[in-house]
């Protein structure tokens, strides 16, 4: 039997075999012209729907679980959209002027508003299109089937939706959701983030989804390769059951062996560390098996109503240091700028903040904030496992100035008789081309290097990460990137200091193999990747990685480099390769 395969973006790994549960009724959308005497009825139906949707949002707001609190804001914003005159009055006017039914009028209004927001320069505003669409879907669903909201599936099944809002996801009875498929979304959508957190396989941007699946159809979701099999035959089902078993076994194995050392076949050991956002992430220890924290982001505390005081910071940093001891924790000093800004920074209104007063530049300009943070770190340093790392370094001066400040603070703290560590290891985050070019000099004056791959690639390739027109240049295997990485690693080792890599790329098997081949001492990634990375590393040998890295370093042809790495990894890992998340290549189906 000819079967249909739909392709999508895998945003949460895993495999599921199940029946379709449509959430929204978008498929059967009504597009009907109405008579003059129906205008009033249709308008009333829309008003009722809007009122109902607002009430149901309000109810959901009450029940937002603690770990999803950040989504409360999103729901509040959607509640406001559900009462927005631009949306509601716009649709009401369309009903009257065009003599069309409420659902159709609403669809046209939503499309118009989404188009308006999608074209905006500000990525924040672009994302609001997602909220408008979510509200539109809710309203249309109510118009179609009345108060019985079907979002809360009670039977096992694969959830299929045009898109899901956080409110939808929160209303789900997750025990019954085997997988999620959406026609829109993308790897950074709410649905993607939530499904990964909940370990539910999920594909977004599935082409042709809404027109080719029907309620109760059986299908197979392959969240590893990024495809959906419609009308699978017995053989398909059997094959995917085996594959699912393989994946589950692999996942169980990596979790069970997470605390084993990451030692390669020939005895070379590397550290695999975790990147943490806040104290909330501490709960993933010690199960994730991470050898400490390679990057603790300190921005969280600075985005509350007021700036944190020293004692609050000491409490936070000490909690992290104490709960992870004897493992090591690298605290990155305040790195505001590119994504998030403090008031002082936003006031500058920089046209290109990624190249502006961010990271160490901002801290040295605002010594009050910087000194408070450094004092807190020195005081938390008495736990003996604290290091400090400086982001966005581009001159030797910035490092020296920070050292001088820390010496002053040591005297201050000593005079105040406050216990503290005066000799905290001080590292440089190498993420600007300038730092990469002077890394020999930096290495002589700091205690360790950490390579921030995301920013380094953007700055090296001269691309703006929000600009999709140049996204194709975001290519970590580009010879410029590979040579720079090697240069930094060698400079560190020349001066006898350690070097770690703490960008997202560290969890990518292709890049990981090359980094190991260049001889990095540690890699640091999101906690959920750590068990898989350790398992992967144990199957590599330092010798083979080195040979691969040497070959790639000699290559000036990107495509050839990619082929070399892919072939080697296929040979080493086989099917396991597709169990890992890689932004670089779509794994090849075998």
């Amino acid at each position: 039997m000819a079967r249909t395969v739909l392709l999508g973006t895998p945003v949460s790994p895993g495999i599921a075999i199940g029946r379709v549960r449509l959430t929204h009724t978008a498929v059967q959308d009504e597009e009907r012209y109405i008579a003059s005497d129906e205008v009033e009825t249709e308008q009333e139906a829309l008003r009722t729907a809007a009122e109902h949707v607002r009430t149901s949002f309000a109810a959901t707001m009450e029940n937002v679980p603690d770990d999803l609190a950040e989504y409360g804001d999103v729901i509040a914003a959607q509640m406001e959209i559900a009462r927005d005159p631009k949306l509601i009055k716009g649709a009401l006017a369309r009903i009257a002027h065009k003599h069309i039914c409420a659902a159709w009028a609403l669809k046209l209004t939503v499309d118009e508003l989404c188009a308006l927001f999608r074209d905006m320069d500000d990525p924040y505003l672009r994302d609001r299109a997602q909220d408008i669409r979510a509200v539109g879907l809710r309203l249309r669903e109510y118009l179609h089937s009345g108060p019985g909201h079907k979002g809360a599936a009670t039977e096992n099944g694969v959830l299929v939706a045009e898109d899901l809002s956080p409110a939808d996801v929160m209303e789900l009875d997750l025990d019954h959701v085997q997988a999620i498929l959406t026609a829109e979304g993308g790897p950074t959508s709410h649905t993607a983030i939530l499904s990964r957190g909940l370990r539910i396989p999920c594909l977004s941007d599935v082409t042709g989804l809404m027109t080719s699946v029907h309620e109760d159809d059986t299908l197979i979701v392959d969240g590893l390769e990024g495809c959906v099999l419609l009308q699978p035959d017995d053989e398909d089902v059997a094959q995917y059951r085996r594959r699912r078993q393989e994946y589950t076994d692999w996942e169980t194995l990596t979790l069970k062996t997470a605390t084993w050392p990451a030692e390669m076949c020939d005895g070379v050991r590397v550290m695999v560390q975790a990147n943490l956002e806040s104290t909330a992430d501490l709960s993933s220890f010690p199960e994730n098996g991470a050898d400490g924290v390679g990057l603790y982001r300190t921005e969280f505390a600075f985005f509350r109503e007021r700036l944190p005081d020293e004692d609050e910071l000491v409490a936070e940093y000490s909690e992290v240091a104490k709960s992870l001891a004897p493992r090591h924790v690298v605290f990155r000093t305040l790195d505001v700028g590119a994504d998030k800004m403090l008031r002082a920074q936003a006031a500058l209104n920089e046209p290109n903040p990624a190249l502006g007063l961010r990271g160490i530049r901002f801290c040295l300009r605002h010594p009050g904030i910087f000194r408070t943070q450094l004092r807190a770190l020195m005081r938390a340093g008495i736990n003996g496992n604290v290091s400090v790392m400086l982001p966005m370094i581009s001159t030797l001066q910035e490092l020296r100035q920070t050292r001088r400040i820390m010496q002053e603070l040591h005297q201050e703290l000593a005079a105040q008789k406050l216990p503290h560590e005066s000799e905290l290891p001080l590292g440089v985050m190498v993420e600007t081309p300038a730092a990469a070019m002077i890394c020999d000099a930096l290495a002589r004056e700091c205690d360790f290097f950490s390579i921030g791959t995301n920013d380094l690639v953007h700055y090296l390739m001269a691309i703006d990460r929000n600009n999709r027109h140049v996204a194709y240049l975001n290519e970590p295997l580009h010879p410029a990137v590979i040579r720079t990485l090697k240069h930094i690693v060698d400079a560190a080792h020349q001066e006898g200091i350690g070097v770690s890599v703490c960008g997202e790329l560290a969890s990518d098997p292709f890049v990981l193999a090359l980094l190991l081949g260049m001889g990095v001492d540690a890699v640091s990634a999101s906690p959920r990747f750590v068990p898989g990375m350790k398992h992967l590393i144990r199957q590599f040998s330092a010798h083979e990685c080195m040979e691969l890295a040497d070959n790639v370093l000699l290559s000036t042809d990107l495509t050839a480099s990619q082929r070399m790495v892919r072939e080697k990894l296929q040979q080493l890992l086989g099917r396991e390769l597709s169990f890992h998340t890689s932004s670089l290549f779509t794994p090849m189906t075998s």
Binding site: E80, R128, A346
Partner: protein
């Protein structure tokens, strides 16, 4: 405060500055729209880039005024003066 409100041919007008660290993003925009909805007067929010309905969060967002923008509020209707006074208080409170 009353002396800051001007009578113009298009209605009562008042200049306000945004002064929010991230500009008028979703939360403040939603609160501003809510406040405006309390009055029956028609209220326009005017910036260098355009004029929008102050009762619509989406409209306010689409105006995307920068954090340090100066805006003009224009109100027409029976409670226009109360509306402008209320919104002026709202902007002052938001900045604190």
């Amino acid at each position: 405060m009353d002396e800051e409100i001007d009578q113009t041919p298009r209605g009562l007008s008042l200049r306000v500055s945004v002064g929010l660290r991230n500009g008028l993003h979703a939360r403040p925009a939603a609160r501003l729209a809510r406040e405006a909805q309390r009055y029956s007067a028609d209220i326009l929010l005017i910036s260098e880039t355009g004029e929008v309905d102050a009762k619509s969060m989406l409209d306010i967002l689409s105006l995307a005024p920068p954090a340090d923008a100066e805006l003009t509020l224009l109100a027409n209707g029976p409670d226009a003066r109360e509306a402008l006074q209320g919104l002026a208080r709202f902007f002052t409170n938001m900045q604190e």
